[in-house]
């Protein structure tokens, strides 16, 4: 217990690894044992991460649960783990979606079960490591390690064009990563010239970034940019995504959409933003490019969705559109934009993950994903249709569901920067509603056109177990998002203060009411949102007045 208290992140990180090693020693004939143990460790991975919920202190700025051990002293690389509000949410998302997707594979994976569960657990280790690592070397190791299991998940258990999709995914991501490696090394030496010591410590290295010349900052920014932009994926780098998502097995798609893409946005938040040039003109130039690219991604992704014949491909392209919102929010550089973007990342994990699961359910029953094969499914599968509807609405941003909170907050954040960009982004929302509802209409409503669909069984207990938690989360975030905003308050504030120092002094609000900000809400995002948090902060602000 003592060990767990002091090394909670290591325990979360290594639980799936222990599971994978254990599975390695069970003979392959014993398929049920693999399946059961795989699920057990998936669940265990989630359970050991649960104590974070009450141990994480959102009022602390900076990283928590730090662990710091010497690893390779010759180059200054250390085993440093730690999480702040952003990575905290993503870690929980990873363990939760991991457990759910492993459960969803129960009957879908019929061959090579042993390897499947081993690789899936290894994938979990890689993804968790990326979100926890506070050492660039360690971060890079996890970032790369994760590619290998994903390659095999797509390549072995995928559908027809799996080999092509798998290697495309691997090569695209690798190309970005190796450039990032060079950028990391460049940063390492630049920082050494300032601090005088060789270290890969993330906060230290990024802390020196503002002292570089504008040119160096620009080079470093673009050096990191490609790795993250390919991962997200941003518009011109997105071509691997439809292939990988469509060919991957259901659980693979859920993890790809739910967690892997977030590694890109996480990278932007954690590494790219602090590297933005301090020079206002140079920064604006980069921001303009990225905003335009994000908006192209939103609209292009949505338009392409309209034309898809394959349900899974449609959802895959919708990720391009939704992640465009996330990057839009990030590069607005306002607290609302950032907080909204992070919440939208979580939302996207929930709703797109659920949609992939639902398509997986259909695929297991019919072995096709073509929209034209279906129609009128709400008659034989009413519960399925209901959950599908909730997730569709959540994905298109209906109020009271999670998608609305994210998109709305992002738009608020972007609006403060430019009305024009906001207007373009709203077009994306409208198109999103169009393609999602049109898809729903074609698949669910009307008479059952295809006789094969007449007697499809509705969801079974296991499928409920994978979907209901996501539905609950969707409603919870949609109705009461305050805990998320509270968690994000400190890290977002820190980022904005570093990359957009003019923001707080210009609006003045946060600076004028320091007690409110430190004790309660993230200043801007809450009061503007008129969420329950804002009333609390009003009360808090009013309290001293009343005493007087």
């Amino acid at each position: 217990m003592q060990f767990y208290d002091n090394h909670i992140l290591t325990v979360i990180l290594l639980t799936p690894l222990v599971g994978a090693l254990l599975l390695l020693f069970i003979p392959r004939e014993n398929e049920n044992a693999h399946r059961t143990l795989g699920n057990a460790f998936g669940l265990l991975g989630f359970v050991v991460s649960l104590p974070l919920l009450w141990r994480f202190d959102p009022s602390v700025s900076g990283y928590q649960f730090l662990e710091n051990v010497d690893w390779i002293p010759s180059i200054g690389a250390r085993y440093t783990l730690g999480i702040d509000g952003i990575s905290y949410l993503l870690v929980i998302l990873t363990t939760a979606l991991g457990a759910i997707s492993i459960l969803s594979s129960w009957s879908a994976i019929q061959v090579r079960k042993k390897e499947y569960y081993i690789l899936f657990l290894l994938l979990q280790v890689g993804m968790l490591g990326v979100f926890m690592a506070l050492d660039f070397f360690l971060f890079y190791v996890f970032w790369e390690v994760m590619l290998v299991p994903m390659y095999f998940l797509i390549g072995v258990w995928g559908s027809d064009r799996r080999l092509y999709a798998a290697i495309k995914f691997f090569l695209y991501t690798l190309a970005g990563s190796v450039i990032m490696l060079v950028a990391i090394l460049a940063l390492y030496f630049r920082a050494q010239q300032i601090t005088g010591q060789y270290t890969f410590d993330v906060p230290t290295l990024l802390g020196t970034a503002p002292q570089f010349s504008t040119l160096v900052q620009q080079y470093l920014f673009w050096g990191f940019f490609f790795a993250f932009a390919i991962k997200v994926p941003m518009f011109p780098f997105h071509t691997w995504l439809p292939d990988a998502h469509t060919e991957a097995p259901t659980a693979g798609s859920v993890i790809l959409a739910g967690v892997l893409l977030k590694m890109g946005t996480y990278g932007f938040l954690r590494f790219s933003l602090p590297l933005l040039p301090t020079d206002a003109a140079a920064r604006q130039e980069i921001i303009n490019i990225l905003m335009v690219v994000s908006i192209i991604g939103i609209i292009y992704g949505a338009l392409v969705c309209m034309m898809q014949k394959d349900m899974k491909k449609l959802i895959a392209y919708s990720s391009v559109s939704h992640l465009g919102f996330c990057t839009l929010g990030i590069f607005a550089l306002t607290p609302q934009g950032l907080a909204g973007s992070i919440i939208q990342q979580i939302n996207h994990g929930i709703s797109t993950g659920a949609l992939f699961l639902l398509i997986g359910v259909l695929y297991e029953r019919r072995h096709t994903r073509l929209i034209s094969e279906f129609g009128g499914l709400s008659t034989p599968m009413p519960s399925f249709a209901a959950i599908y509807l909730i997730m569709t609405l959540s994905s298109l941003g209906l109020p009271l569901l999670n998608g609305f909170i994210g998109e709305f907050t992002i738009l608020l954040g972007v609006y403060q920067v430019s009305v024009g960009w906001t207007a373009w982004a709203v077009v994306g929302i409208v198109l999103g509603a169009a393609y999602l509802l049109w898809l729903y209409q074609r698949v669910m409503f009307g008479p059952v056109t295809n006789p094969a669909n007449e007697h499809l069984p509705d969801l079974n207990a296991r499928e409920y177990a994978t979907l209901v938690p996501l539905v609950v989360l969707a409603f919870w975030i949609g109705i009461y998002p305050k805990p998320l905003f509270t968690i994000l308050e400190q890290p977002v504030r820190q980022i904005v203060q570093q990359v957009n120092p003019g923001y707080y002094s210009a609006t003045g609000a946060a600076a004028v009411r320091p007690p409110v900000v430190s004790s309660q809400g993230p200043g801007q995002s809450q009061s503007v949102l008129a969420s329950p948090g804002s009333s609390a902060s009003i009360v808090a602000a009013a309290a001293p007045v009343a005493k007087r």
Partner: protein, 509 residues
């Protein structure tokens, strides 16, 4: 220093290997046809004894100790490379027994020649005199010419041997010509011993050559000619572009165990010689050739990687990949020699890279060797099909070696590449670093072609795979080193840093 017994002690590892090699030649006659494994045991004993002697030399410390009027030197550099050669030799012997039985060419000469080749390599690493170095190189090369053609019944083995011999002789000629020019330069130069005393060292000594080159200066035409010819000869031996054409044919034709040994030990030994000459000997005139090396490195990376993309034979594929690995090591050399005082990171990177390369490449070849069965060569990509179903452990090992070769963390190959990039960036070679890093992408593609065949294709060749105990030991060792040196590289980095550093004499301190 001229005490003969002490000098003898300094070459004891080589002497022991030679004696065991000769003994194998004699005892081979006494062994029955079925007992030829005894030769392998004997050879392993030789490695063991030599290893112990080498370990005792390791105890001499970090300062170089010269012997035989400084024509050989024992320093961490030699101990490091000697250890790699012996380790590779032991692994190859373990892999060879079964392979030779299948090929029905189980003769004692095979092991004797392996030992003699290793003696040559060790003299290449310890030689501090052009003549000793050249003799070492030729001892190694001639042994390899014979070993390449060891499968007398196979045409492609014979063809490879002839090709290797002709081109190898040509490159040795170039090297000898370069050496003679160097000798001329140093014989004409006015080099004096300490405190102006007449020089007691031969004119072929590396220190004398360095002093002579320093007097001549980098712009001298004769110096340029000498360095270009020496470089060409050595580039041939390490299979760097444009002197690489022999590699794919020889790799494909030679018995796979020998291919492994050529690609691992012969290349490492040639790099040892190259480093000894270029870093220790040609240091004063490095401005001359640093761009040449960069160009050769880039060309090796380009041609090696792109030619490997379309290969259908695993041995050829690995041949081209080893060309690209030579490119990475040369990039490290570019970094190591930049700047007034050189770059220690670059040298560490080279040493680590060669160390990692030895084990992961040997591992990759070992899988091909394990695949070899009666009536099936086992080195086409299609022969790998379904390896996963036939032998899951071999498939996992193959995956680990391929990932390491491509440079995916946390494996040894990644740390090696990482150090090369680190050094390039430290010395300001940003473009070379980006260039080298981007070549990981095509490299991964062709390494994964092998993986795809092994993991994702259905088995075409039926039948169980048999892995002997000796092969398992060898595979386990290679795999363990590849993983440990990747996950916890610290001790290996220390070792690399200790082994390869610029001597104080060169830096003028």
């Amino acid at each position: 220093m001229d005490n003969f017994s002490q000098d003898f002690f300094l070459i004891l590892p080589q002497v022991e290997l030679t004696l065991f090699g000769l003994a194998i030649l004699v005892f081979d006659f006494m062994l029955g046809v079925r007992d030829k494994t005894g030769n392998a045991v004997f050879a392993m004993l030789g490695v063991l004894f030599s290893g112990i002697s080498l370990y005792r030399l390791h105890g001499l410390g970090a300062d170089p100790v010269g012997g035989f009027t400084s024509s050989i030197v024992v320093d961490p550099f030699f101990v490091f490379f000697g250890a790699i050669f012996l380790a590779a030799l032991a692994l190859v012997i373990l892999l060879s027994v079964r392979y030779l039985q299948i090929e029905e060419e189980h003769h004692g000469e095979y092991y004797a020649l392996l030992l003699f080749a290793t003696v040559g390599m060790m003299f290449m690493a310890s030689g501090y005199d052009l003549i000793v170095q050249f003799l070492g190189l030729e001892t190694m090369a001639i042994s390899f010419y014979i070993l390449t053609g060891f499968l007398r019944g196979q045409r492609r083995s014979n063809e490879a041997a002839v090709k290797y011999l002709l081109l190898g002789a040509f490159s040795s000629g170039l090297l000898a010509y370069g050496f003679s020019l160097l000798y001329g330069i140093s014989a004409m130069a006015d080099v004096r011993g300490p405190m102006g005393m007449p020089l007691m060292l031969p004119r072929t000594n590396i220190d004398v050559i360095r002093a002579a080159l320093e007097q001549r200066g980098p712009s001298d035409l004769l110096v340029l000619l000498a360095i270009v010819t020496v470089a060409a000869g050595l580039f041939f031996k390490v299979a760097a572009v444009p002197f690489h054409q022999w590699a794919p044919d020889v790799y494909e034709g030679a018995p796979t165990t020998i291919t492994a040994y050529i690609s691992v030990a012969s290349k490492t030994a040639s790099f040892a010689l190259l480093l000894r000459l270029f870093v220790y000997g040609f240091w004063p005139v490095r401005v001359n050739w640093i761009d040449v090396i960069a160009a050769v490195a880039v060309a090796s990376l380009t041609i090696g990687n792109f030619a490997a993309l379309t290969q259908t034979n695993v041995k050829r594929l690995l041949a081209y990949s080893s060309i690209s690995h030579a490119g990475y090591v040369l990039l490290g050399l570019v970094a190591a020699l930049s700047g007034e005082e050189g770059n220690a990171t670059g040298l560490t990177g080279i040493a680590f890279y060669l160390f990692a390369y030895a084990f992961m490449t040997a591992g990759a070849f070992a899988i091909v060797i394990v695949l070899r069965r009666q009536g099936l060569i086992g080195d086409e990509l299609d022969d790998m099909n379904g390896l996963y179903q036939r032998s899951p452990a071999s498939a996992v090992l193959l995956l680990i070696f391929m990932l390491s070769l491509a440079g995916i963390p946390p494996l040894a190959g990644f740390v090696g590449k990482y150090y090369i990039f680190l050094a390039l960036i430290q010395t300001g070679h940003y473009y070379l670093a980006i260039f080298g890093a981007l070549y990981i992408v095509p490299a991964l593609y062709y390494y994964f072609r092998v993986v795809v065949h092994a993991w994702l294709r259905e088995p075409t060749a039926a039948g169980e795979m048999r892995v002997t105990a000796a092969q398992s030991v060898a595979l386990a060792v290679m795999c363990a080193v590849t993983i440990i040196a990747g996950v916890y590289p610290e001790p290996f980095i220390q070792m690399a840093t200790h082994s390869l550093s610029l001597p104080a004499a060169i830096l003028g301190r």
